[in-house]
């Protein structure tokens, strides 16, 4: 083979490698008849995945030929890529969270306004509407379910040992002390994933300083060096000796497991967490009490209950088509009904419906108790990482809380660190 033909061959080869890549880059998106809606789902766990599939199948059955095409992505991956996802080629409808986490993207113009849908929605409380509303007063989210956080425990363990659900912090500590004497880990505790301990922070904060303070702290208006924040950490430090050691190396699944195995007595969790780790036969043994009172002025007014729901992506090409937009909004309207939530909750009983038109009679006793907890709440918070800016919660608060857990004594240094970083992040806009 001569040198020249070798060169020629190489050139052709190089062209053959690059050309297809260039061609596919020009490919067009799916052509739409306006009846097929794509839906980005972060429900990658088997139970919710199946429950959602049931719900969408029910929608397809009652609509005239409309189809829902679901693209499921691993939960954490979905979360981490959300901002690129929404700017790139998002699905028409996608699952996301209420509160600040949603408002952040609404402000950036990445969400479709669904205020006209909201005029027809029935059965949603004012608190739900507030959590679905952006800073501009328009609604962007269609809520679907929520799950309250509380102190979970095993009913049988409490009955066997004669433990009483504590009402106040002092009773809580006394109970924890008793459990320690009984050779239990009083409070199952985990923060390897970075977020589970946030629930405890939120509750101590809201019980000590009230919901309004929580809101302004999360909005960056109050300094983290404020004495009220130090008080939160001080209270938490008082509880730490009763918490499972080595929390930063434990996932929530492992913590829930130790609760299930009766190695730990209690745990601050959301409704789905113990539910996912208890075998079917022991589901009925899960019980909870609201996080105890710290300051009687705030009592147990606030309940942490993150809301999940559906939103429309502004950048979706398909939604430029009027018919497709109509279809997508029709799907949201259907999902907003109590009946749609019933279908979902039938196979995923670890959440509760947001609509007061949902059928509570089929609920488990635990779910009924959760409904009671939420409906009795004066305020509903989302979660630390849903109530504040995502860049603040993920880059500052996760390491900060983990640092507090492994080195709880330097609260001054900790809050100073947080405050300094908070200032630069909140000043960024």
């Amino acid at each position: 083979m001569s040198r020249r033909s070798l060169l020629r061959g190489a050139a052709v080869g190089a062209g053959a490698v690059t050309l297809p890549a260039l061609l596919t880059a020009c490919g067009s998106g799916p052509g739409g008849d306006g009846k097929t809606i794509t839906l980005g789902s972060n429900s990658s766990d088997p139970v919710p995945k199946k429950a959602f599939a049931d719900a969408f199948a029910a929608y397809e059955a009652q609509s005239d030929g409309r189809k829902v095409k679901v693209n499921t992505v691993d939960h954490n991956t979905f979360q981490e890529n959300i901002s690129r996802y929404l700017q790139g080629k998002p699905d028409d409808v996608f699952m996301w969270f209420a509160g600040n986490r949603m408002q952040f993207f609404a402000e950036k113009g990445l969400l479709h306004d669904v205020s006209d849908n909201w005029q027809d929605y029935k059965g949603f409380s004012a608190a739900l509407k507030a959590q679905s509303t952006g800073a501009d007063g328009k609604q962007y989210l269609t809520p679907y379910y929520y799950y309250p956080w509380a102190v979970f425990h095993r009913r049988s363990l409490f009955a066997d040992r004669g433990y009483q659900a504590p009402k106040t912090l002092d009773e809580y500590v006394a109970l924890a002390r008793q459990m320690k004497k009984d050779k239990l880990d009083p409070i199952a505790f985990c923060d390897k994933d970075g977020w589970p301990a946030m629930g405890t922070f939120d509750y101590i904060d809201m019980r000590t300083n009230g919901y309004e303070f929580h809101k302004s702290l999360m909005a960056g208006e109050v300094a983290w060096t404020d004495k009220r924040v130090r008080e939160v950490f001080d209270t938490w430090r008082r509880l730490l000796p009763y918490c499972q050691q080595g929390a930063n190396g434990r996932t929530w699944q492992e913590a829930a497991n130790s609760l299930q195995k009766k190695e730990a007595g209690m745990a601050v969790f959301g409704l789905p967490h113990p539910g996912a780790q208890f075998p079917k036969g022991e589901q009925g043994d899960i019980d909870f009490f609201p996080f105890p009172v710290i300051d009687p002025e705030h009592g147990q007014d606030a309940v942490e209950a993150p809301i999940d729901g559906f939103l429309l992506a502004k950048k979706s090409k398909n939604l430029k088509n009027k018919k497709a937009l109509e279809s997508a909004k029709d799907l949201l309207k259907w999902l907003a009904t109590g009946k749609a939530e019933d279908i979902y909750l039938k196979s995923d009983p670890n959440n509760i419906a947001v609509s007061d038109q949902a059928d509570i009679s089929a609920y488990s006793p635990l779910q009924k108790k959760a409904v009671e907890l939420v409906s009795g709440a004066k305020q509903i918070s989302q979660f630390l990482d849903r109530d504040t800016r995502p860049d603040f919660s993920s880059t500052v608060m996760i390491p900060a809380i983990q640092k507090f857990i492994s080195d709880p004594d330097d609260v001054d240094g900790l809050v100073n660190d947080i405050e300094r970083q908070k200032k630069t992040i909140f000043a960024a806009d």
Partner: protein, 304 residues
């Protein structure tokens, strides 16, 4: 150096390449150069530029000067630990894992019994990605359900191998070294096979002991392999990421520069300007090593 007049050289080139040759060469060189610029240099320069902005990935790009860097050095608690950990990684792989790999290679090369078995066993982790190694490390080191605590019967107050920020970096380094050692061993095994046995015989005749033969004769002839191992070790330490990310997202004692970049850019945070600044620091550190290596190589080339 022989003396060739510049004019003659030019003429010779002109005679040997026709216009068509030049065109073909132009295309063939041009495509890789374009790709290199587009895929490597473009993003690199973009990172440098973006590191001076406060871009969040969505809105307008706003210039903030050196604020990101000031922030990084004074106001980001994870930064210095991350930089330290990267250096520790380098030291551990370079001073512990790589020499250990060499030792194993020498032992196997001398023909211990079952050497094929050892060879394949030690090489096995290399075929696993570091992310998988990370998952295996979790199965072994997990506090409540890990194999290690079960084996040593540490149940009263078990050691939190992966959650304790003073301990976990060493556990992860151990896991990373597990893989690196096999890698290094294979490279040295290939090198040792190429060492001329007559050199060793000559040394033996001259009365050199085992150790002397190794350090005076064998190791110097392994120089090319040493360089490769050095380069690989530096690359592995600076790009270390997957294993800590698999273990705990590189937090709480496992910070690395690469993880901080990811946390700020890929995650929900979208602090692209700030993350780029960290990336630039990582680039500067890497360039330091690359420059040192190139200088050494070029000098060696001249001396040869």
């Amino acid at each position: 150096m022989s003396f060739i007049p510049a004019r003659r050289t030019g003429r010779r080139v002109a005679r040997r390449f026709t216009g068509r040759d030049l065109a073909v060469l132009g295309v063939l060189l041009g495509i890789p150069v374009l790709l290199d610029v587009a895929i490597v240099w473009g993003p690199t320069l973009a990172s440098v530029v973006l590191s001076f902005t406060g871009w969040d990935g969505i809105g307008d790009i706003k210039w903030v000067g050196t604020q990101n860097y000031r922030n990084l050095f004074t106001n980001y608690p994870q930064f210095w630990p991350a930089a330290r950990h990267n250096l520790l990684w380098l030291a551990f792989l370079g001073l512990v894992a790589a020499p250990f790999g060499l030792l194993l290679a020498v032992l196997i090369d001398r023909g211990v019994r079952f050497s094929r078995f050892y060879q394949s066993t030690l090489y096995m982790p290399v075929v696993l990605s570091l992310a998988v190694v990370g998952f295996i490390a979790q199965l072994v080191f997990s506090r409540d359900q890990g194999a290690l605590n079960a084996v040593i019967g540490d149940t009263g107050s078990p050691t939190d191998w992966l959650g304790d920020p003073d301990l976990n970096i060493w556990m992860v380094l151990l896991a990373a070294a597990w893989r690196h050692t096999g890698y290094v061993m294979i490279l040295y095994l290939a090198g040792l096979k190429a060492v001329d046995p007559s050199l060793k015989e000559a040394a033996a005749i001259d009365g050199a002991g085992e150790a002397q033969t190794f350090f005076r004769i064998v190791l110097p002839t392994l120089r090319p392999v040493n360089v490769i191992v050095g380069v690989i070790t530096v690359i592995e330490s600076l790009r270390a990421f997957d294993i800590v990310y698999a273990v705990n997202h590189g937090r709480n004692g496992l910070e690395l520069l690469s993880v901080l970049v990811t946390d700020n850019i890929i995650g929900e945070a979208s602090r692209i300007g700030f993350g780029s600044a960290i990336a630039v620091v990582l680039l500067a550190v890497s360039l330091g090593f690359v420059a040192t290596y190139l200088v050494q190589e070029l000098r060696g080339e001249r001396n040869r």
